[in-house]
Structures are given as C-alpha cells and as structure tokens.
C-alpha cells in the first residue's frame, strides 16, 4: 500500500517534469502554428466581400470553386505534376551521387558532402537570380552559343527553366537523407548477393534499394512538399506564364484586385490535406520495413 503511494508520487513527479519540458515548445506551436492554421481554416469557409474584405458568412463556395473551376484544378494538377517530376529527377540524380560519395575514402566523403551543402550559404533568391543571368536571352549560355556561331536558345521563362531551378534547389534535400541511409548500409550485403548469383543490377533492386528505402522516402518527401507550394522559382525562372498552386495562393492573398483571402485559404487547406496524406504514407513506408 505504502509502496503504491510512493510509486504514484514518483509518477506524478515524472509527469510534472515532462509537462515543464514540453510547455515552451507546445506554447510556441499553439501560438504560431495551430492558431494561424485555425484562422486559415475559418477563413476558408467565409465569403469574400466586394473590396476583398471578409464577410462573416459561412459558405462551401470556395471549396466548390476550387474543385470545379478549371483554372484552380489545373494549377493543382500542374503543381502535383511538376512536384512529381522534380522529385523523380532529384531521385535519379541524387541516388547515384549519394552512392558515389559514400564509396569514397572518408576524407573525400567529407569534402564532397561539404560541396553538396555549399549552396546553402547563399540566399536561395540570390541563387535563382544567378540562374536568370545564366539563362537569359542575352545571358551567359546564349553568349557562349553565339560566340561559337550557334543560334540562341530561349531558356528563361520556360517550364524547363522552372523544372531546372526546382531540381537545382531541392537536390541537396534528396542527397542528404539517401547518403545517410547508404552510410548505414552494410556493403558486405552486396557481396553476399553477388555471391548468391545476383548481378549488380539485381543486387541493387533486391538488396540495396529496399534497404535504403527510408532514405529515398525521406528525400522524396523533403523535395515534394516544398515544391508543391513553391512560387518563387516558377515566377523568376518560369516567367509566371502558367499558374502553380503557390503562385495562385500568393496572388489571391496579395496581388489580385480585390484580394480573395477565403479562396486562398481554401486552396492552402486543400494543399495541406494532400500533403498530410503523403506524409502518412511516408511514415508507413519508413516505420514498417526498416526500424
């Protein structure tokens, strides 16, 4: 009986310590994440006034617009499409790169990882402007072409430029988690697979890839999520010729006249929902197999 009380007292004290440790973080998240989120969620069911003011009248109209009007549906699909493309290209470039780095002697590995990280030292916006200089009609690449007597190419303000910028910006986020997964991978397993009759290709598909899947999944999520909401790259390199989700949201909030916060909020919510599903799938993939 006495032991029981003691035990309960100990548990209570533990709980109190836990609460004290969690409080600052929880407060932060409540104030700056949950609360704004609730506001956005509330806005998404409001009606937009004639001057862009919010009319406190419940409506599902924003969501209906979102899923019926082609301008929004297309932006949605286009964003998903370019995110899938970006993720795939990053994966195809990033996996071999990570594998190459892991197979180097330790000293070189550090140097190469460092090189992967170097772009982060410069502001992303500045780096995208640098791409503009490279790709512009009278930019560096076209300058080089014309000095060789070749006709100029339209590079800037194309969808290709958008994709290029996205892959460029997101590649390190793919390389690093895959590198971490490969670093933990025991390469003796590849010898074991070869020993049992597997060619390099089959050993990769049957052993190395499944075992580094958590890294691939983490990298893919890290690339996919920011890409789906991005608006900077498609604006600066794509020339804002077509609408992506991020561009639309940005416009609805800031640029259109009058602004339409409720519709923008609804778009943001729909995007979050889609991402949430994706993240759940990701956690499934990483926890079930290799933990």
């Amino acid at each position: 009986m006495a032991l029981n009380t003691l035990e309960r007292e100990r548990q209570r004290r533990e709980r109190r310590t836990l609460a004290a440790l969690l409080a600052p973080g929880l407060l932060w998240l409540t104030l700056f994440l949950a609360l704004p989120l609730m506001i956005i969620l509330a806005y998404s069911f409001m009606t937009n006034g004639p001057r862009g003011n919010i009319v406190w009248q419940f409506t599902l109209g924003n969501y209906i617009d979102l899923f019926t009007r082609s301008i929004y549906v297309n932006a949605y699909l286009r964003s998903i499409w370019i995110s899938i493309l970006t993720t795939l290209i990053c994966l195809l470039l990033g996996y071999p790169l990570a594998l190459f780095i892991v197979r180097q002697p330790p000293r070189w590995r550090t140097v190469l990882l460092f090189l992967v990280l170097i772009p982060f030292w410069t502001n992303f916006l500045v780096r995208i402007y640098a791409w503009q200089i490279l790709l512009a009609n009278n930019g560096l690449i076209n300058g080089a072409l014309s000095s060789l007597g070749l006709p100029p190419l339209t590079l800037l303000n194309t969808e290709g430029a958008t994709l290029l910028g996205l892959v460029y910006g997101e590649l390190p986020f793919m390389v690093l988690p895959i590198y971490a997964a490969l670093d933990r991978f025991d390469f003796t397993l590849m010898e074991a697979a070869a020993d049992l009759g597997a060619s390099k290709r089959r050993a990769f598909w049957r052993v190395m890839l499944p075992m580094t899947m958590p890294g691939v999944a983490a990298g893919s999520v890290l690339v996919f999520i920011p890409t789906i909401g991005q608006f900077v790259v498609s604006e600066l390199l794509g020339g804002a010729k077509v609408d992506y989700l991020g561009n639309l949201i940005q416009r609805l909030f800031l640029r259109s006249n009058p602004p339409n916060w409720p519709l923008g909020s609804a778009m943001a919510m729909a995007m979050m929902l889609a991402l949430l599903v994706l993240i759940l799938v990701y956690f499934r993939a990483t926890t079930e197999e290799n933990r």
């Binding site: 397993l189 074991a192 070869a194 020993d195 597997a198 499944p210 075992m211 290799n290």
Partner: protein
C-alpha cells in the same frame, strides 16, 4: 575420383597500393577436402578467400576452380558460395527468403524453391524460424542460416570466412563438430579461414599456415603440429619452447645446435639446415620430461639440471615452468594420469629436477 583439383592457385599476388597482401601463393585444394587457411590477422588469408570468391582479382597469377580459369568470371557466375564472417544475412528478408535468394537468382521454379528451402532449413534445424527476421535470431542460429543460404545452391566449393569468430567458446566447439560432420555428409570442398589454430586442427584435412602474405607450410594437422618446417609455424601452432643457438653438426634428418652458453642439443630437421646457420631447438611442453634427480640416469646426453620455478595445476595437466641453470626458463606440461591428493605426487616450486629433451621429440628449425 576426378583428378583435377577443386581449387588451384598458381603464383597468386595481390597488391593494395604499396602493400602486398598476398605474396606468390600457390595452393592445390583437393576435391571434397576440408582445407583451412590459418594465420594471424593481416596474413592475407581473407584476401586469398575473397579472390577465390571473386570479390577481389589477383594482381598476377591465376585461380582455377575445377580446372576452369576464373580470371574473367565475376563473383555471381562462380560455382562457389561464401559464409561471411558477419553472416551478411539480408535484414529486410525473412530467414526463408534469405535461404531462397540464391535459387531465385538462378530463376528456379517457385515450387522447387519452396521445397528446397524447407529441406535446407530442416538440415540446419531452423524450420520453426522460417518467417523470422535474421535479427530475431541468436548468433548461432544466424550462422546456421548463413550456412543454409550458401549450401542450398550446391556450390562446388564452400568458402567460410571465420564463420565461428563471433560466437562464444562453448557454441564454437559445438559448431566445429557440426560443421565438420556436415562437410562429410554433403561432400563439398570447404575452404575455411581462421586465426584459431585449435579450430583449424580440429576440423581440417589439411591446413595452409600463412604469414605476411606467404604460405609457410601446407600439411595435415599432425604434420603442421608435429613437423613444423619453420620457427613461425612451430610458434603459431600450439605452445613450444625455443632454445636459440647455431648448428654445429647435421645429419640426414637430424642436427645438433650449440647455444652461446655451451649447451648442446639435438633434434630432427623437417627442413635441411646448414652447419653454422643460426637455428632454434623447438620442444613442445608436453614432449619434454621432468625427472627427479634421483630418477635421472647418470650422464644422460640430453638431461639438463633445472630448478622448478612455477607450478600451475589446471586439472587435466600440471604446467611447470623450470629454470635452467643459465637463467633460461622452460615449460613442461605433465598430464595428471593419476588421481591423487598426495602433495608429493606433484612438483613443488624450488625443487631441483632434471629436464630431458629427447632428440626424437625436438626439432631444429630456422627462420
């Protein structure tokens, strides 16, 4: 009986940068043989095994398996399988999937794979664990999965890289015998890499002792232990006493050495020695005898007066360290063939004694 060797290495050299890992090694491993590569770590035994498996290619020299040249054959096309030191089981597959892997790579029909996997697991008594993941098994069980995964492919040669290294002593002993009887049963050539001389002696038909990339001696366990051809082998296999000197006389298969302090000792010469050459007399501690001064025959040619210094009773044996009159020590092991508590039946420190080194039990060896 086929006359071609299971594995033949001809003058194989392997360099990694400036270091020579394997230095002109030639081996002929017979069909159905349990062959061990024995040596201290870094002696090149694992590199030799890896070249047979195909994970490394020789810098020069050639390797043939059943007469077939392996120079251009990648590991996945060689008729050998490996049991890795770390087992290298696939952690994301079940035990059954691990064992099935080799047959799947050979694209055998599903039904056949299922039947053979079951047989293979029965053979290593792991049928109950077919659906477990490797990490849910003990070290000994994992080792048996690795064995089943290799043997199911019916390789011409099975390569084992210190497969018992990670196991505790008792399990090791058990698995040594199990492995040996398994090898007899399946009749496959085993090439076994180990640094444990006792393990090699217990299991092998023949042993190659390696040091610094070179093969020093190849022979049966008895030959390696009883007739080592050089000082390193005598030292590495089992325990021995060395007395250093210079050869003063040599015969057909025996020689005499003289030490700096004037001792003259005679022993057999497994390899010819030259008069004047520096050499050691090697006598295993169980092959020397210790007599009470009163029992020693007067004027025995190879009897040396000594004093007992240390006595360790270890149950089956008593290990006695004696001091020769010139400050040398010498180990003698006596088997405790009598069961007695009588203190006088055992040697006591400080007692005078006579050490007898029969020339037939001693060897004169050079470097």
């Amino acid at each position: 009986m086929s006359t071609t060797n299971a594995v033949e290495l001809r003058d194989v050299v392997k360099r990694f940068g400036d270091t020579v890992a394997v230095d002109h090694v030639s081996l002929e491993i017979r069909d159905g043989e349990f062959f061990s590569l024995l040596g201290p770590s870094g002696c090149g035994k694992t590199t030799t095994l890896r070249m047979i498996a195909g994970f490394e290619y020789p810098s020069s020299g050639s390797i043939a398996i059943h007469g077939r040249e392996m120079a251009t054959i990648p590991p996945h096309r060689r008729p050998v399988n490996t049991v890795f030191q770390s087992y290298a089981l696939f952690p994301h597959m079940t035990v059954a999937q691990n064992v099935a892997f080799g047959l799947e790579m050979k694209r055998r029909p599903r039904d056949e794979i299922a039947v053979r996997v079951q047989e293979a697991l029965e053979q290593v008594r792991l049928s109950a664990f077919a659906d477990r993941r490797p990490r849910q098994l003990s070290g000994g069980q994992q080792q048996r999965v690795a064995l089943a995964r290799a043997l199911i492919n019916q390789p011409e040669v099975l390569l084992l890289d210190e497969p018992l290294g990670a196991l505790d002593q008792k399990l090791r002993k058990e698995l040594q015998l199990e492995l040996k009887s398994l090898q007899r049963r399946v009749g496959i050539t085993f090439i076994f890499v180990t640094h444990d001389q006792e393990e090699a002696l217990t299991m092998s038909d023949r042993i190659a002792v390696m040091s610094q990339g070179k093969v020093l001696q190849i022979g049966s366990p008895t030959e390696i232990y009883e007739r080592p051809t050089c000082r390193f082998v005598a030292d590495f296999i089992g325990e021995t006493n060395f007395i250093a000197g210079r050869v003063i006389e040599n015969g057909a298969n025996a020689a005499t050495i003289e030490t700096t302090d004037g001792l003259r000792l005679r022993g057999l010469t497994p390899r010819p020695v030259q008069v004047g050459e520096p050499a050691v007399l090697s006598i295993r501690p169980e092959k020397a005898r210790l007599l009470a001064p009163s029992d020693a025959r007067a004027g025995h040619a190879y009897a040396l007066p000594v004093r007992v210094e240390l006595v360790s009773y270890i149950g089956s044996d008593t290990r006695i360290t004696v001091r020769l009159n010139d400050q040398r020590t010498f180990d003698v092991w006596e088997q405790n063939t009598l069961s007695t508590l009588d203190r006088d039946a055992y040697w006591q420190p400080g007692e005078p004694a006579v050490l007898v080194c029969p020339p037939d039990n001693a060897l004169v060896l050079t470097e």
